[in-house]
Symmetry: C2
Subunit: 207 residues, 2 copies
């Protein structure tokens, strides 16, 4: 089973590395970070580099596609090489997935048209521009498309996907292996839970 995780300059690292940490532990998978060119990409803070080991064309037909987000994907929203790869990959994929604003790229490729989907909370309404129906949930499945909410939601998405791929037991074993028994010190991880003034502040920073 071939898994492709798309990376690009100014991506959000955890969007990609959360799903990587879960999916790479599935027995027998061949997981590859792909980009328009092989080599390093820098994350949105500039403080970390991640490698792409294959070009898009070298992995044209992955079984599973994972598209992370980050401000660096905005130039890709009209990049025909990336959109064309995504469309072709989606045509043959078993599952096509996104994390955070990665959903905007799926949308730009036409993959979310008529589908329920989610993205980072500050971008939910933008999904409508691509014909998608924003659906407030941590992980949204519609057919073979799975979209996750912001950044850290990629971990939940990947565990859900693992269960679909291999059954609940493998997903539970991976959850235990990465000791994913989350216990945030605060309860302000979504706009429904955080104080309204904080939501407005962070919306401005994100926007």
């Amino acid at each position: 089973m071939k898994i492709a995780i798309l990376v690009f300059d100014r991506l959000t690292a955890l969007d990609a590395v959360g799903p990587y940490e879960v999916l790479s532990r599935i027995p027998g998978v061949e997981l590859t970070f792909v980009a328009t060119e092989t080599g390093l990409v820098r994350t949105d803070t500039g403080r970390l580099g991640l490698t792409a080991d294959a070009t898009l064309e070298e992995l044209a037909r992955p079984d599973i596609v994972v598209v992370p987000g980050g401000e660096g994907n905005r130039p890709l929203l009209d990049d025909e090489r990336v959109l064309g790869w995504l469309r072709q990959a989606h045509e043959h994929s078993t599952w096509t997935t996104s994390v955070c604003t990665g959903a905007l790229l799926l949308g730009a490729a036409g993959i979310l048209d008529g589908k329920r989907a989610i993205t980072h909370w500050a971008y939910r309404e933008k999904l409508r521009e691509y014909g998608a129906e924003p659906t407030i949930a941590r992980v949204v499945e519609d057919g073979k498309v799975i979209t996750a909410a912001g950044v850290s939601a990629g971990i939940d998405m990947a565990l859900t996907l693992t269960a679909r791929l291999t059954g609940d037991d493998v997903a539970k074993a991976i959850q235990l292996g990465i000791e994913y028994d989350p216990d945030p010190p605060f309860d302000s991880g979504s706009p429904e839970k955080a104080p309204p003034a904080l939501v407005e502040l962070v919306r401005k920073l994100e926007g």
Copy 2:
């Protein structure tokens, strides 16, 4: 404020990237991935490369040290260059932290002697070899040392640390920014919650 995250070959990516994603969002921080040599390290699965942008000697006195885990840290447990850096950094640091089996490296450097600490659940008892008292919690603070449980616990640790550094409001804003409102599809993320047979299976795979 200077933050150093140690990386090395065959580290567990999420151990490092979870804290990075939180701590790099603190206004004014200067976060750097450090290693014995600059350049690429490969993660424990071999499927991802991460960059180190400074050598240990180039960042000898960070304010905050983050030590991730992964099987690749075993050769470091008697590497005097790494242990010496850690001891010196700890002498001057505001906070010295670890994620997962990163705690073993803190232990080998003598930093956990007489302290309460935690690590990946499969290695808890090993902490005693370093004079530490294994303490079952997601995040354990003892003086200026903060240790986190396995892999994903680094996110909770980093939010706790952010609150100590900057106050609760910044930590809550970062939590909202990364939409950290976790919702795992299963409740098997700790050995206290997972079925015993699964715990034994994963213990064998981890060991």
